[in-house]
Symmetry: C2
Subunit: 140 residues, 2 copies
DNA sequence: TATTGTTATACTCTATAACTATA
DNA sequence: TATAGTTATAGAGTATAACAATA
């Protein structure tokens, strides 16, 4: 039998936020791994798909990923044949999905949509409509 | 002027969860750094404070921290003079806060309480009571 | 002068596998 | 046989500083 601990942490929204994000991230990561994609990569693919010709710097600003961290991320996507780069001018390059990238992105989108639906389904109906607005207020 | 991107991600609760958790964690981490504490260390200190004599394994179970990851964490707290270990039997050891640990934990608690209050204050009042229950449903 | 892409680096968190000793 | 503490290691995310080339 396991010792019962006095634990005030679950009553704290910030702590619950961290635990919930952690648990959910682990779940989504496992599903995306079937496509050999990480969460950050999937989000980058989706954004490139919706914004062909976007630059790495613009992606980073939108997703809050440091420019420096975009480099290995994009390199891996490029080496996997999922994205193509085309020079815009001497210093910028436009990103676009390859044919394989479009397929992979569609598959990732399907996984994410299913995951998001399950997430919402887990929340009691009376709290459900408040989740997204509350989270948005914490972040932006 | 900055390019405006088409970005469906902020409409997804799971994505908003990740972004919100990230933003909030960065903020709390910066504040706890003034005490030379990380979030995980602060949570461990608080739990030890409320459960003197608790074992590392029990802490790990409660906080969802792998036993293996508790080792360096506790080692750092011990080397900082914040916790003491006392053998329970041949294989377990009970953890307790030192006097310095009690002070540091109280300071951490003050920071966390202020942070949690600010967090809630940022959420519009009509969504506020739903945040914790919704998060709890996602996690447990 | 600001921005893009890049390299290098480091820290935090998390995860797994395996070992020893004890219950 | 299960559990406690430990070691070693790895991956993922994030952060900063710095540099060259270009706008």
């Amino acid at each position: 039998m396991t010792q019962q601990l006095h634990d005030p942490l679950p009553m704290l929204p910030g702590y619950a936020l961290r635990r919930a994000a952690n648990a959910c991230a682990a779940e989504l990561s496992a599903r995306l791994a079937t496509l050999d994609l990480r969460q950050s990569e999937a989000s980058v693919l989706i954004l490139i798909g919706g914004n062909p010709g976007v630059t790495a710097a613009a992606l980073g600003r939108q997703l809050d990923i440091q420019r420096a961290n975009m480099v290995p991320l994009l390199k891996r996507l490029e080496e996997a044949g999922l994205i193509d780069r085309a020079p815009i001018d001497g210093k910028s390059q436009g990103l676009a999905l390859s044919a394989a990238g479009q397929d992979r992105t569609a598959a990732a989108h399907a996984i994410i949509d299913a995951y998001e639906a399950e997430l919402l389904a887990r929340v009691p109906a009376d709290h459900r409509p408040h989740l997204l607005p509350a989270l948005a207020a914490l972040w932006r």
